[in-house]
Symmetry: C2
Subunit: 202 residues, 2 copies
């Protein structure tokens, strides 16, 4: 088994943190985007989208998509439960994981792609679309701040996959000009707590 990895990107980080929380060791294979290693015929045969992470099983089967990879390990090793221990808890964690991804991570990626110098000439950029995406992300952060006033973690009283997704999203925002506003004290408290976990730097 191998996990094809990209050190600085939010999605491979989700899987690395998840595996660290489970104390599961999977050999990493680093892929260098600057050298185009995600565009070689060998890599595209594993994932035609050229995206990371990619999990390759010993029989050559390939699983892509961070949440699919994490859930694969959750089923094999349910403890500690990061997708929930009961039916309703699992539904809530999936709901919050999707909200963190669709409502926070995607706008922050849009903001990054549309406004950052790194993407000039690589992708179509619209400063207006980038600013709108940032505004959306900031509104969602204010919403999550209110939610986190009432509980310790995003989906309840236990750290879960939803927290992993949100912390990776907000770390991207922090590094690309869309940090958590200081006025959002509950979200800031939560972010300080989750990023202080020993697994956060996995």
């Amino acid at each position: 088994m191998k996990l094809y990895n990209l050190k600085a990107a939010p999605n491979p980080r989700r899987v690395r943190i998840f595996l660290a929380e489970k104390v599961i060791a999977v050999p990493l294979v680093e892929i260098d985007l600057a050298k185009g290693e995600n565009r070689t015929p060998e890599f595209l045969a594993k994932n035609p989208l050229g995206l990371l992470p990619v999990l390759e099983l010993d029989d050559g089967s390939v699983i892509t998509e961070s949440v699919a990879i994490c859930r694969y390990f959750e089923e094999q090793q349910p403890t500690p439960p990061l997708f929930g221990a009961t039916l309703l808890e699992r539904a809530r964690i999936e709901m919050w994981n999707r909200r963190a991804e669709l409502e926070v991570m995607l706008p922050l990626i849009d903001h990054f792609v549309h406004t950052h110098a790194f993407w000039q000439g690589r992708r179509l950029q619209s400063a207006e679309v980038g600013e709108l995406a940032r505004d959306t992300a900031l509104k969602r952060m204010a919403w999550l701040d209110a939610e986190l006033a009432a509980r310790e973690f995003l989906a309840g009283e236990r750290y879960s996959m939803a927290d992993i997704t949100l912390q990776c999203a907000l770390l991207l925002g922090k590094n690309t000009g869309a940090p958590i506003p200081e006025t959002l004290t509950h979200l800031s408290r939560w972010f300080a707590a989750v990023t202080a976990r020993p697994t956060a730097r996995a």
Copy 2:
């Protein structure tokens, strides 16, 4: 139990088709966006994002996000399995479901929002961004066409959640100026087959 529904939108349709495939009856409550029924204090207490669908359980618990709702029913009634029957099948279906959503549905929604008259004055529109989103969706359709040359359904030989997501995405594209190109014969064959299922009009 109630399912708050929006007839013409792709995400509520995913849940309705899923429930029809499972032969599970849930009372629907229609929400009228034109009347702002998704923006009332009562509705926003259920989903602060104002989005549909929303599942309300008999104890008042709320689950939003179409995939979270579907998986909740899958756990309660595993037959027929729409998220997969084995560990590897479940991983593949989740992978393909996410690819259908992130790589096809989201660009088609972007194209719709950025180019359609319905959204004029309601959302920031960039014709350039809309066209780029359409180009992305068309590239992904070509990729899926090649994938579907080798198998009957998106994630294997059995109809699954991934097919439901893709058919709802491509129906949106068909209705908003981004239909499947006729040259994509495998994808067109698949689309004709899944939309001919009795559940497609649920």
